[in-house]
Point group: C2
Chain length 339, copies 2
Amino acid sequence: MTNTDEVTRIAFAELKTLLARVFERHGTSAEVAAVLADNCASAQRDGSESHGVFRIPGYLSTLASGWVDGRAVPQVEDIAPGLVAVDAGNGFAQPALAAARGLLLDKVRHNGIAMLAIRNSHHFAALWPDVEPFAREGLVALAFVNSMACVVPYGGRKPLFGTNPISFAAPRAGADPLVFDLATSAIAHGDVQIAAREGQLLPEGYGVDSDGRPTCDPAAILNGGALLPFGGYKGSALSMMVELLAAALTGGNFSFEFDWSQHPGAKTPWTGELLIVIDPSRGAGSNFAERTATLVREMAAAGQTRQPGDRRYRQRAESARAGVAIASEDLAYLRGLLG
Amino acid sequence: MTNTDEVTRIAFAELKTLLARVFERHGTSAEVAAVLADNCASAQRDGSESHGVFRIPGYLSTLASGWVDGRAVPQVEDIAPGLVAVDAGNGFAQPALAAARGLLLDKVRHNGIAMLAIRNSHHFAALWPDVEPFAREGLVALAFVNSMACVVPYGGRKPLFGTNPISFAAPRAGADPLVFDLATSAIAHGDVQIAAREGQLLPEGYGVDSDGRPTCDPAAILNGGALLPFGGYKGSALSMMVELLAAALTGGNFSFEFDWSQHPGAKTPWTGELLIVIDPSRGAGSNFAERTATLVREMAAAGQTRQPGDRRYRQRAESARAGVAIASEDLAYLRGLLG
């Protein structure tokens, strides 16, 4: 996986099939392979560079290390009228979500709000693919996932929190859903890796080195250093909330609790994920999708030129037209993995 | 209401009674007066200066203007197994929450998660008092409230969002609940008012003047200027989410939708509020309060010296010991309001 200027275009379905074969060849079940391939190909399609094919070496080294169970069968538990829980069996979070999705939707439609608590799971992907599909069914969805200790709490010296993203999706009349996916760290870990790979410095306030001193060098952050929360104490408080919702509430590990030292090559955080899904048609906000469209129109009128998700949808349209862009070298790498 | 160095100590119960009499004398029902007095006295007790007695002139000028109905009787609607809605009848949000609380708790205990959607309401107070009591009953609570157009969306020029706070409360074993209440603006509006009153400059990045240019002058922000979201585009996305949850989902007004120009003296935003309450004992996280305590212990070990809510609880203990601190001039002002 090196940087290259030469880019190939590949059909989305072809990329998905290729990735599924890679996953299956390297230790996952066919079911898990299909879910992860769709997730990874979607990120590549939408220009989420740090969560696309870029992630494959990390997935494979993790599978090879025995840290994650690529053949785990998620155990769905119907806990309460508003709560579905899943023991992911030390497998990936996305197949656990897929397994629980039908029951969750039933509960949301019946109650107006329901919750999915995934534990004993590994999340190594973007978070927006977990929420966007709910918004396409007219629902509002919030997702929280904790990761691995790499963020220093506000005022502290040692990393404790994960990058702990919050993702939100809302239906919007006459347009794609309004979706954001934001790390509560000042920068996503994948973007630090990309900056290090490309030899770029980061802005101030993004991270500290191994001595806890501020640094702009992505390599210093990756080599024993840590990230800072976004927005000072407020981002730190939100990151803490993500630990409580995604781990404490689900029964998953906090970001600082797991020890993968016996699994060299392991990259995927072994934690938990929480989803809260709401049916706006049950409440006073029955014209919710129209209201979302109104808000976005006013945001544009106030001068906000780029709305959350815009870049992804633009890239997605371009990929549908011309094929998904992938570095030729990366495509060769993927094909080589099947050899 | 001017600044003064002379401070009086008053018993919490006495302050509450005094405030209730003030509210009732100035246009609220006894029921509304009791709820608002408890809320306002609690903020004063806990050192939340910008939401304590400081707010009284704003409450009273609003009541005098006819903008808010101080005698409104909230209409509680049992919408779905997981959803309670309240039409606050153009009254305050806190009495609406109080009226719906019992039904909401029943739904939370039964379903594991439930939601309270308040609309047609005015919220002029701190948000933490809305969530902390749930955590004292072992529940996790999230609250979102939008306010009045005073925050410029990221990259924009005109104010559109409110200060749009998010508040979170979680039970913690052996200690007070872990609670935060954070404006998604770079600074709370009340704190800008206090800075203006005290003639202090604000840090950079907090606001813009009436031409949309960055300024550190609180007066320039208050006189036709606006605030910025905290944490750049991420805080802006969260503020947008608060508009959708607190207004679009409840049926309330967006922060930019109401027109109080016919009500000189009106200060209270006419919007909505959403609460999401979760019972952790129903899920895999049945030891939730212990897990919260573990996380806070690790935050302290990582060097975070001040935890969310710490200052409030310290001030609360001091107020219990010595009485609630209030500027002598403010106390005289309150007593004068009964004359």
